[in-house]
Structure formats: structure tokens, C-alpha cells
């Protein structure tokens, strides 16, 4: 049996639309030194490194090799994993398996992206089949617009419901100094008013019907690093380590036209597996806070149904009842989430790092005002892919 594994340190850069003051290696180094300082460790204490990003955004091949001087990988074991949007969560999962294997004790997980150096949609389009898909559909937005259309038609969902998610994420981001989008004008205004302003704004351009600018995540420069440690050392490094209780993922692939737009089946299946492993029976009651990879507004309604927090079509009720706000029963994305910062290769890892902070009780102004025993994180990417990781305060059995 493997080793129990915990998160003992987290560091992230301030997320910005363009970090022109640093190159990629320096950006990585910023996250690494912050995470090491957070854990009270030096790079000499680290046994192995896992790193990930999406190659075509920066146009650098073999990033694990290229970044060695910034990541600290010189004369250390280093491995690169990459799976598109899920890269950050894939990095976290890989670091977890490194430690759980018993082969190493302390692993540094790094995710990063400099989207300002990329043509994001130009790069993402090449993920799709060159003959059948690239000329018709592809890029980050098209598939999501299809999903949103189906969801709206099936359950009578409105633009206001979508905007309710955006408003939550952007309000939460105001508490997070690291978030990319700080929409200070939103401060102190009632939620209904903010939703009305969002849907009625003439500046809120249509991108791909029904998705407008306000429905989408930004493109961000940023990096994150998380230190994973085995049960032999975790409690010596961190007073309250955030233990990994379960992880599962599904990266099923079909042509985009064959994706089940009614249900996010990968997220449903991976969540089910994680809850089964961690013996969670009533997710809404048992999970205390979530950091979910919600790249666009309607995901904040539909995907929480797929995870099993409520029945299909019931997502909007949870949102409008305030259940997922900071003071609700299940706060979702206290950090402001992906809708407020999206350095793609780091995004999934930031979810894990932020969830760990909530468990450790060290999330500052964005700390939820309740005891956090379980925190759920997800990653999204590829062809409607899902990575799910559950963190907890108690050491797993």
C-alpha cells in the first residue's frame, strides 16, 4: 500500500494579463521560491519535481528541460506532464502519485503559463482533428457555447442565471490579492443589480452565442507551485497539512460532435469515483468548500449538477439561494476561480493550492467562515475532460 500524502506548502505569482517584467523561467522561479518559503523548505529538501504547461502557448518545446534553472531541477529528477486545460490538476495528481508511491518524500509540483505570449485560440484549435473539426469547430469557446445552448434549452436557463455565476466569481476575487480580475466597481452593490448590469451592458460583446465576454474566463500570465509530502514528514513541515483523500480522472475522447452535451459524463464519473473512495455519501452536506475549474459561467450551474451537489436543472436554485456564496452552505471558489484568473497550465494547480489553504485555515480574506474538513477541487480541459481531487483535514484511514 502506498504512503498517505499531504500538501504542506503553496505559492503563486500575482496573476496578470501580461507579466512583461519576467520571462517564463523567472515566472516559474517566483512561484517556486514562494512555495518553498511557505513550506519553510529549501530546494535542497525537494526530492523530485513535476512541471506542466501547454507547449503551443509559449512555443517552447521540452519545458521541463528549458526551465531547469528556474524550477530547481538541476541534478534532480524532473518529469513533465501535460494534458491541455487539465494540465495543472494533472501536475498535482502526478506529484501525489510520486509521493504516494513511496519512492520520494517531498515533491514540488509546478504549473505555469504566459498566455500573453500566445494566440490562445489559435493554439487550442490545433487540438482538434485537422480534417473534420478544425475548419468547423475548435478553440476554447465553441464547444462550451454548444453545451450552454443545450443546457439552456433543456432546463429553461436564462442569461441572468449565467450572470449570477459570473457575479459570484468576480465578487469572490475581490478578496484575493493574487486574482487577475479585480472589478472594484462591483463592491457593495446588490447581487441582483450586478446581474442586471451584466446582462444589459452594451459593452458585453457576444463571442459565440449564447456566450458573451462576461461568461468567459480571461487569459492570464501566472505560475503556481505546491509542495506535496509523505506522511513520514508532512506533519513536521506543516502544522495542519492538507491530506489528499482521493483523486480520479476521466479523459474520454470522441469527436466534438459526439460529446454528450446533456451531461458532463467525465466529471460525473470521476466525482463518483472520488466520493466512493472517500466514502462521501451526501456531497453537499459533507464537503465544506470547493475550488472548481469553471472556465465559463454556465459551468457553475451545470457542472455542480454533474458533480452531484444537486439534481439536473437545479443548479440555478443553489446559486440564487446563495448556497455557493462565501457565507453559504457550500462556498464555491472563494479565490474567484478560473473566471477571475486563468494561467492555463497553472489553473488546475491553483485550485488544489487554494483548497489546501482553506483546509490549513490560511486563506486570509478569502478564508471561508466555517470549519473546513473536506475541500473538493476539479480540473477541466481537452475534450470535456475532468480531474477531481479531494483534500481533507483529517489524516486518511
Amino acid at each position: 500500500m502506498g504512503k498517505r500524502t499531504a500538501i504542506v506548502g503553496f505559492g503563486q505569482t500575482f496573476q496578470k494579463s501580461a507579466r512583461k517584467d519576467v520571462n517564463g523561467v523567472e515566472l516559474i522561479n517566483e512561484a517556486v521560491t514562494t512555495a518553498l518559503a511557505d513550506a519553510g523548505l529549501s530546494i535542497r529538501d525537494i526530492d523530485a519535481i513535476v512541471i506542466g504547461n501547454m507547449d503551443h502557448f509559449e512555443g517552447v518545446n521540452y519545458v521541463d528541460m528549458w526551465s531547469a534553472e528556474g524550477s530547481g531541477a538541476v541534478m534532480k529528477p524532473v518529469m513533465k506532464v501535460t494534458t491541455g486545460g487539465t494540465t495543472g490538476s494533472t501536475v498535482a495528481t502526478c506529484a501525489y502519485y510520486h509521493v504516494a508511491s513511496g519512492m520520494v518524500d517531498k515533491v514540488l509540483a509546478i504549473g505555469w503559463e504566459k498566455n500573453s505570449e500566445s494566440d490562445t485560440t489559435g493554439a487550442i484549435i490545433t487540438a482538434f482533428n485537422p480534417i473534420w473539426e478544425r475548419p468547423n469547430i475548435g478553440g476554447a469557446i465553441a464547444g462550451l457555447a454548444l453545451e450552454a445552448s443545450v443546457y439552456m434549452a433543456n432546463y429553461g436557463i436564462t442569461e441572468r442565471d449565467g450572470a449570477r455565476v459570473t457575479v459570484r466569481e468576480r465578487l469572490h476575487a475581490l478578496n484575493n490579492p493574487y486574482a487577475h480580475l479585480h472589478q472594484d466597481w462591483m463592491k457593495g452593490k446588490p447581487i441582483n443589480k450586478l446581474v442586471d448590469l451584466t446582462v444589459s451592458s452594451e459593452q458585453n460583446k457576444m463571442l459565440a452565442s449564447p456566450l458573451r465576454m462576461s461568461d468567459m474566463c480571461p487569459r492570464t500570465d501566472g505560475a503556481a507551485a505546491v509542495v506535496f509530502a509523505s506522511e513520514d514528514v508532512a506533519e513536521k513541515i506543516a502544522p495542519i497539512p492538507a491530506w489528499v483523500h482521493a483523486t480520479a480522472n476521466r479523459h474520454n475522447y470522441v469527436f466534438i460532435g459526439d460529446v454528450d452535451m446533456e451531461q458532463n459524463t467525465t466529471l460525473a464519473s470521476a466525482s463518483k469515483k472520488v466520493f466512493e473512495k472517500a466514502r462521501i455519501k451526501e456531497p453537499l452536506k459533507e464537503i465544506d468548500v470547493c475550488e472548481l475549474y469553471l472556465p465559463y459561467s454556465y459551468a457553475g450551474l451545470k457542472w455542480i449538477e454533474d458533480i452531484g451537489f444537486c439534481g439536473y436543472g437545479e443548479g440555478p436554485k443553489l446559486l440564487w439561494d446563495g448556497v455557493t456564496d462565501m457565507d453559504g452552505e457550500l462556498p464555491i471558489n472563494p479565490s474567484g476561480g478560473v473566471m477571475s484568473s486563468n494561467p492555463i497550465g497553472a489553473t488546475g494547480l491553483i485550485r488544489v493550492g487554494e483548497a489546501a489553504l482553506q483546509i490549513m485555515g490560511r486563506a486570509g480574506d478569502r478564508q471561508v467562515k466555517k470549519d473546513v474538513n473536506f475541500a473538493l477541487t476539479t480540473g477541466f480541459g481537452g475534450c470535456f475532460w475532468a480531474d477531481v481531487m479531494l483534500l481533507g483535514k483529517e489524516k486518511p484511514l
Binding site: D64, M79, K80, G84, Y97, N252
Partner: protein, 378 residues
């Protein structure tokens, strides 16, 4: 620590240009590995694929081959690097206690890319790329640096090419079996001083797959397990100028760890056969030294004395090595497959008689920046 075995292996033929798609090749390799193990896809608990967005010309290069790897409804991840690193991750995922079996599959179509541009993109975008540096021209710098340090000559490098291309005749999967002389190598066209055409590995298409299992997992299969006794990986600095290009301290680090795990004190005597990542002829001599088979600067003495020939004390690359087929990302996994076949006694005409313990080696990055070493035995 629980023991992990290789229970199934599969490779496509390696060719200059295949008509098969990525999916076709992955499906072929994965299917062969499963059938070699004597199991079925339902026996596979989780999957690790290996691919690279630059080589595939496709963002999220793992996406197109997920169905071909049989991953529907299963946990899966993707390593971007040599296949040996994928195998190591596959092994870790079992050791974590989450799975009993892993399928690791890697693919490449070198024929669909431009090697010079793809490997030029490994280098610093501001200071180095505009010089036109790529995998081969950086390797030439390393070869020259190694010659300066060791006194090895171009003729010594040529001996590696003669040996490995000759060995490839015994390997039905190899792309370039060639009966060539030292003179042929010396007379071949200059590619990048001091490297000539026959010092360089070819561009190849192909895929390879292995199945890993723990003691519980091997019971699902019919094939006798080949146990992983040791593994180690390590990276050097990125900037070529920060490295001593003539000495591979990263390989020393990786191999020492693997030897320690496997309880090996004298690799030359204790290991029966090796499969090394000889992307260029000179590399094999440098890797001898990094692996502790010869003192620093004395790698050439092994090839001159025939120690690493098929009938030598420690045959290296009976398969023909990477010089005879270079499916990038796949090549290290192919080394592990060849090592497995050797210790199983199933290597056909390239079998080293009585091979019990074998070493497989993979590299990543320019001039062998990172290394991964596996020791395997039955």
C-alpha cells in the same frame, strides 16, 4: 517497497514514413502488448500515454489517441518526454496503491514534422534559436567537447555505428539494418562537424507499449513477469554553457540510484546486456562512462576491444539501438522492451545467451540533459 514487473510488451515496426495515423499506431502497440501479456483491455486499471505537442503538431497531443489506448472510463495521464519517464510514472501509479496494472504507450510520427524546427524550439528563444541550433548541431558541440576531453576520435564513434547498424539485422522491428564498414561511416556526408550522416540516428515513425503490474496484477496475465529491480532519473542544467558537455553527471546520478536500488556494485560484471539511447554514435561512448562501465574519458576503449559487441562481455544495443530506429519519445520505451525481451529469453536472433539482468536507458532534452535508467531481471 512492493515489486513491479513488466508483463507485456508491444512495438510497431519502425519506418521512415508510415501511412498509419497516430491512433492506428497506438492501437497496434497497445493491442500487441496486451496480447503479449496474455490478457485483455479489462485487465488494465489505468493508462499513461507519452506524446509531445510539437512532434505531433497538435495541442493536447494526447487527446487524439485516448480511445486507441483503451482509456475510456479509466484514470489516465500523459507524460511529455521520453517513454522511460512514462514507464516510471506508470510504475509510481501502481506503487501508490491506487492500481494493480498500468498500460504505458508512446507514439511518434517523425515523418510529419521538421526535426530541425521542432528541436530548435527546445532552445532559448532570444539568444540561441536564431543561431539555427537544433538537436544535431548541439550534439555536434557535445561530440567535439567529448573528443577534446577524452581523446576519442571520429573513428571510435564510427565503430558504434558499424556495430549497431549491424546488430539491427537481427531485429525485425529496426528501420536501418546496414552492413557498413568504418570507412563507409567516415566517408558519409558531413551533417554537423564532427558528425556525419552515419553518426546520426534516422527520423522514424512508430509506437511502443508496455504493461506494468504488481504481484496482485501479474495474476491476471499469462506471461512470466520481468521484475524492475532499480530505476533512477536525473536532469542536468539547461544552458549548454552551464554544463560540462563532455561528462554526463546526470546519467551518473540516475544510474547510481538505479544501481543502489538493484544492489549492483559493478555494472560491467553484473549486468548481462544494455540497451542505451544512442541518438548519435558518440553518445554511446559517453553513456558507457556515465553508467560507470569505463573510467571518464575511456569509453572508446570498450568499443575498440569489442567488449560491447554481440559476443563481448557486455553487449550493448543488440537491437541496433537508436542509431537504427529513432522514434523520439518511443525510443526509451523500446529500450525497456528490448531489455525485457532479453531477460525473458525471447529476443529471437538478437538474444544474448543467458541474459538474466538488463539495463535500459532513455534521455530527454538537448545533449542528453536528463536520463532515466531501468534495471530489469526475471
Amino acid at each position: 517497497m512492493e515489486r513491479i514487473a513488466v508483463v507485456g510488451v508491444g512495438q510497431t515496426n519502425y519506418e521512415r514514413s508510415k501511412e498509419d495515423t497516430f491512433e492506428d499506431m497506438v492501437f497496434e502497440a497497445a493491442t500487441k502488448a496486451i496480447s503479449d501479456a496474455g490478457g485483455e483491455i479489462g485487465d488494465i486499471d489505468n493508462i499513461v500515454t507519452v506524446s509531445n505537442d510539437f512532434w505531433d503538431g497538435r495541442t493536447i497531443s494526447s487527446m487524439a489517441i485516448q480511445d486507441a489506448a483503451g482509456s475510456w472510463g479509466k484514470d489516465i495521464s500523459t507524460v511529455e518526454g521520453d517513454g522511460t519517464f512514462g514507464a516510471l510514472y506508470g510504475m509510481m501509479r501502481i506503487l501508490s496503491g491506487s492500481f494493480d496494472t498500468t498500460l504505458v504507450v508512446s507514439h511518434i510520427k517523425g515523418s510529419e514534422g521538421v526535426m530541425n524546427l521542432i528541436t530548435n524550439a527546445m532552445f532559448d528563444p532570444i539568444y540561441q534559436r536564431s543561431l539555427g541550433i537544433d538537436a544535431t548541431s548541439s550534439a555536434a558541440l557535445q561530440a567535439r567537447s567529448y573528443m577534446e576531453m577524452s581523446g576519442a576520435r571520429e573513428e571510435d564513434f564510427a565503430l558504434v555505428s558499424v556495430k549497431n547498424h549491424g546488430n539491427a539485422f537481427n531485429n525485425p522491428y529496426a528501420q536501418l539494418p546496414m552492413k557498413i564498414s568504418l570507412g563507409d561511416v567516415m566517408a558519409s556526408r558531413k551533417i554537423s562537424e564532427p558528425l556525419k550522416l552515419l553518426d546520426c540516428s534516422p527520423i522514424s515513425d512508430g509506437a511502443a507499449a508496455i504493461i506494468l503490474a504488481n504481484e496482485r496484477g501479474i495474476k491476471r496475465f499469462k506471461k512470466a513477469p520481468a521484475w524492475i529491480q532499480g530505476v533512477g532519473h536525473c536532469a542536468d542544467s539547461f544552458n549548454l554553457g552551464y554544463r560540462d558537455l563532455a561528462r554526463s553527471r546526470a546519467l551518473k546520478g540516475a544510474s547510481l540510484k538505479a544501481y543502489q536500488m538493484a544492489g549492483i556494485a559493478d555494472p560491467l560484471r553484473e549486468i548481462d546486456v544494455m540497451e542505451l539511447y544512442d541518438a548519435y554514435s558518440y553518445m554511446e561512448l559517453m553513456w558507457y562512462e556515465g553508467l560507470g562501465l569505463a573510467p571518464e574519458g575511456k569509453g572508446a576503449s570498450l568499443i575498440r576491444a569489442g567488449v560491447t559487441a554481440m559476443d563481448g562481455e557486455l553487449p550493448v544495443n543488440p537491437s541496433g539501438g537508436v542509431l537504427s530506429s529513432h522514434p523520439v519519445l518511443v525510443a526509451g520505451l523500446a529500450r525497456l522492451i528490448e531489455a525485457t525481451l532479453q531477460v525473458r529469453g525471447e529476443a529471437g536472433r538478437r538474444q544474448i545467451n543467458g541474459a538474466k539482468k538488463a539495463l535500459a536507458h532513455g534521455i530527454n532534452g538537448p545533449c542528453g540533459q536528463a536520463h532515466c535508467v531501468f534495471i530489469i531481471s526475471v
